[in-house]
Amino acid sequence: MLAEPQRQPRLERETSPPAATAPYFAGDVRSFELTRIGWVARLFRRRWFQFAVILPNQIIFWVALIGGFIGTVDPTRSFGTAITWYFWFFAVLAGALMVGRVWCQICPFGGFAEWIQRLTPWGRRERGLTLNRRWPERWAVWGIIPGALVFYLLTWVEEYYNVVGPGKPIYTSYLIIFVFALAIGTFSVFGRRTFCRYLCPLSAPVGIFSTVGVLSGFRTRDRERCMSCDTKECMRGSKVSYGCPWFEFPGSNATNQGCGLCTECFKGCPNDNVGLYLQPPLTNVHSPGKRRWDVAWALVLLWGIGWYQQWNALSWFSNARGTGIDDWLNRLTGWPHYPNPLGYLLLTAGVAAGYYLYSRAAARWAGADWRRLFTAGAYALIPVVGADYLARQLPKLWDHVTRVITTASDPFGWGWNLFGTARLPIYHTRLLPPGGVVATQVAVMAIATAAAGWAAWRIWRRDWGGERPRVLGALALAVLAAGVYTAVMYVAMQAAE
């Protein structure tokens, strides 16, 4: 006899493992295919295309690097310091949040290492200078977390040597050299862009924040076609193209997080089945095909770094009188000066632990699976964390970005005047008054919080099918609290100055 089907109590715990969420392809939303524009498609088909977009950047970074060694020691006169910290980092973040992974398309680090790896600037060669190893499975399970950890480490180093501060230009050079060396080393041991996928310090923030942007990354036009495609030139390479250097598969790709926009699959697909699309902002935040656990943890780590960088600007954390928390920790541990590594570790771990506990509690309250809630919540937080990183760059941008123009004419501080801009009076121009700066920061955070709230709602509808409204409550509370807290902190930091 069949048992009477039991009515499910409304808030029974989810027991299923995190289901693979429904995929989401460019074609599923209102999107515009950029590669339908004739000249865009023709440009992307050229093998020299990526070389051409990397080259200017390459020159800029080598000038910045060399400037640290042979140029002035005064950071306010150094082109390297100006371009890197007053403009570049802001541009990378803004580019990711507004457009997508464009930085990686023009990145000099990956670009340079790739030329060496392929032994050609843009040609197609079978053999290059690499051992072509595979990233071992036991490392691959950590996904993008190793890259996030390198970023975590570099942030601390940057604070220690006050590289951005502005510190000595040579420190900026050392930092650039470090990334170049790490890239070249990894490229020569591992195949393709293993470095970019797993290890690059910029990859985690750039990739995660790109999900907010409007560029979908290269992906298939017709999935069915890929389903029956045996040759998979996009992944395996062809006579005219390399297999995806980023180890992406356009056929199923539903997020822009991992596509480096290198155009290889577009060149290689024999079925002309690959395109580059514009999509509504936030699309890959709420609908990234699959939500990934490693991405969620990397985001939480980035968030912790954000907390630290706000706290350290406040006098009770570190001050000249030596009465701040950091100073106290230094005395306790015998550490020479700010920043105390233990403090860094504790605060970032504290943020992660706090978020973890929040997810556990919220999941219990909402009857949801905590892993799912943890991951979904982390995705919903992407706009807030991304905006926090961006907002932190704004004072430097508004106050000093004009120096990029003046130092460009005199990159080494030797008194040159290459473009006639070296002695322009804009050197001292601040684009906004201090009150205006903080206003833009608060505005950025307000927009981001609203966006994250909307994304939380979409995530809830998509992942929980609109059921379990408490999940929505938990997600919304997290993003709202995070957004408001961050905005308030910027006001507090302004007051502290």
Binding site: P18, A20, T21, A22, P23, R134, W135, P136, E137, R138, W139, A140, V141, G143, M227, D230, K232, M235, F247, E248, F249, G251, S252, N253, A254, G289, K290, R291, R292, W293, D294
Partner: protein, 534 residues
């Protein structure tokens, strides 16, 4: 030992569904159909019922997304065919390995997983459909297995005996890549070829083609020449093979000893070619008895497969003494005497210079000729010397004494002016100024070894005498004929070259493949070209 794969620990395959891109690379690789794709979610999942634990999926996933735990379950270990006892085999020149029985072949065939993307096939220079023919063996369809082999190879009975399988097909077998014993592909191939020869099946005729009336000449009757001649004849062209030696078969006839490659195989092959209408002119040296221009006048196309039959020699003091000879001379004399032409006496104490394939062939032949003391020396250390391990082991079993890191300084005459001894010297690897490692003699390590015969087996180079009086093709610095890769076309219209003559000394199977490729191109040419023959 036969294991029941349904018992014991089972493999477990873990797929991280979050990171799976649904690229289906793993799925295409799995020999057991254990993986399936959910087309909506684009993720792959695993069902363990038939999983062999072969790790093919793990190896291909571009994302490092698959972890296989647990054993690689194979049916049983590799079956090694019986080989004759050392005592017995040293008494004659018959084949050493006895090959599989039918029963053994079927059992071994069951080990093959039938990989959908067989790496063994990718590693076979001929591109034999290995899982295909092994599957036919499993289905007891031996003529079918032969038909599959014959699509890509003309000499399965030969290749299966002389190929260095551990470096080719078997080295790439999924079993070997997981540290196990590869499926015995060579032995199975040999079994199929032998069975079909003994049961007179598997002969491939003319493909139902009419004679084309075009005439092709093949110079040289080695593996490259014979397979090209066969393929051309099957397309309906009239083929004549010109061979300088009185025996046909190239290295297969004068070089490779019969205890590796019995006469019957070659004779059978030549018989097949005669059935196809191929004409043979042995004892005709092109370049001397006749030149290439004359051949071109009489034929629409000419293929040069003259091999690389010139022995490399060391200009050592005493090398002119009676008792010092080349591997070619030694091996061909022994084979001549096997065919009843000439007497071959025991070479006495023999020193072979080199430890490669040819050297082992020489040493083992000398052993069968009655020599009790046989030494082979190689200038390189054992780890880096280009030797075939299984051949080396067999030679050592048969009592051949192989010394590595040893070189010869000079030969000394005995009282009668004949070869009496050789002076050996130890070597070690040293980097020269350009960073290349070379073996150099170590002073104070010399010793005198009394010997009666010395054989140079230090590799070969091309002779190029077929080109005498023909200026349109200029051999390169190594004496090789320059050709277009893939087609074998030379600079002269209507002339092709293939095999060792074009690529330098190499593996037999590669010469065969080159011959087949050239034949394909010649066929296209002959079909398009007007006959130029009066």
């Amino acid at each position: 030992m036969i294991l029941d794969i349904r018992e014991g620990p089972k493999p477990q395959v873990h797929i991280d569904q979050e990171r799976c891109a649904g690229c289906t690379e793993c799925l295409k690789e799995c020999p057991r159909g254990c993986l399936s794709l959910d087309p909506k979610g684009w993720v792959v999942s695993w069902s363990g019922k038939d999983c062999a634990g072969c790790r093919s999926c793990q190896r291909v996933c571009p994302y490092g997304n698959i972890r296989v735990e647990g054993p690689f379950r194979w049916l049983h270990g590799r079956l090694h065919p019986l080989a004759r006892d050392v005592e017995e085999r040293l008494a004659d020149f018959h084949e050493v390995s006895l090959g599989y029985t039918r029963e053994e072949a079927f059992r071994e065939a069951h080990r093959c997983l039938g990989c959908p993307r067989p790496r063994c096939r990718e590693a076979c220079p001929a591109g034999n459909d290995i899982p295909g023919f092994i599957d036919a063996v499993r289905r007891h369809d031996l003529p079918g297995a032969m038909a599959i082999l014959r699509r890509t190879t003309n000499l399965p009975a030969v290749c299966s005996r002389v190929c260095h399988q551990a470096q080719q097909c078997e080295g790439a077998c999924v079993y070997a890549r997981e540290g196990g014993e590869a499926v015995a592909i060579g032995q199975l191939e040999r079994f199929v070829a032998d069975w079909c020869r003994e049961h007179t099946c598997g002969y491939v005729g003319r493909d139902g083609r009419w004679p084309t009336g075009r005439r092709a000449a093949v110079v040289g009757s080695g593996p490259a020449g014979l397979s090209a001649a066969e393929d051309l004849a099957r397309q309906g062209h009239a083929v004549t093979v010109y061979e300088a030696l009185p025996v046909l078969g190239g290295v297969m006839a004068w070089g490779i000893p019969t205890f590796i490659l019995p006469w019957e195989l070659l004779d059978h092959k030549l018989g097949e070619l005669e059935c196809l209408g191929v004409e043979f002119q042995s004892g005709m040296r092109v370049g001397a008895d006749r030149n290439l221009e004359q051949l071109l006048a009489e034929h629409d196309a000419v293929l040069l497969t003259t091999g690389a039959g010139q022995d490399n020699l060391l200009g050592l003091p005493g090398a002119e003494l009676a008792g010092v000879c080349t591997a070619t001379a030694f091996l061909s004399r022994s084979k001549d005497c096997l065919r009843g032409q000439g007497e071959h006496s025991s070479p006495g104490r023999t020193l072979v210079i080199g430890a490669g394939n040819t050297a082992m062939d020489v040493a083992r032949t000398a052993r069968r000729l009655g020599s009790k003391e046989i030494y082979a020396v190689d200038i390189l250390p054992e780890e880096v010397a280009p030797v075939r391990r299984d051949e080396l082991a067999k030679a050592r079993d048969e009592g051949v004494c192989v010394w590595f890191s040893t070189s010869v300084a000079r030969f000394l005459p005995d009282a009668g002016g004949q070869l009496g001894a050789a002076e050996l010297v130890g070597t070690k690897l040293q980097e020269d100024p350009s960073g290349r490692r070379r073996a150099v003699p170590v002073p104070g390590t010399d010793q005198i070894l009394p010997v009666d015969t010395v054989v140079f087996a230090m590799g070969y180079r091309a002779r190029g005498d077929a080109l005498a009086g023909f200026a349109r093709i200029v051999p390169d610095a190594r004496g090789l004929i320059p050709v277009a890769s893939g087609t074998g076309r030379t600079a002269a219209a209507g002339v092709w070259a293939a095999g060792d003559a074009a690529t330098g000394p190499g593996a037999l199977v590669r010469a065969m493949v080159a011959g087949k490729r050239a034949a394909r191109d010649m066929d296209a040419y002959l079909r398009g070209a007007q006959s130029t023959v009066a």
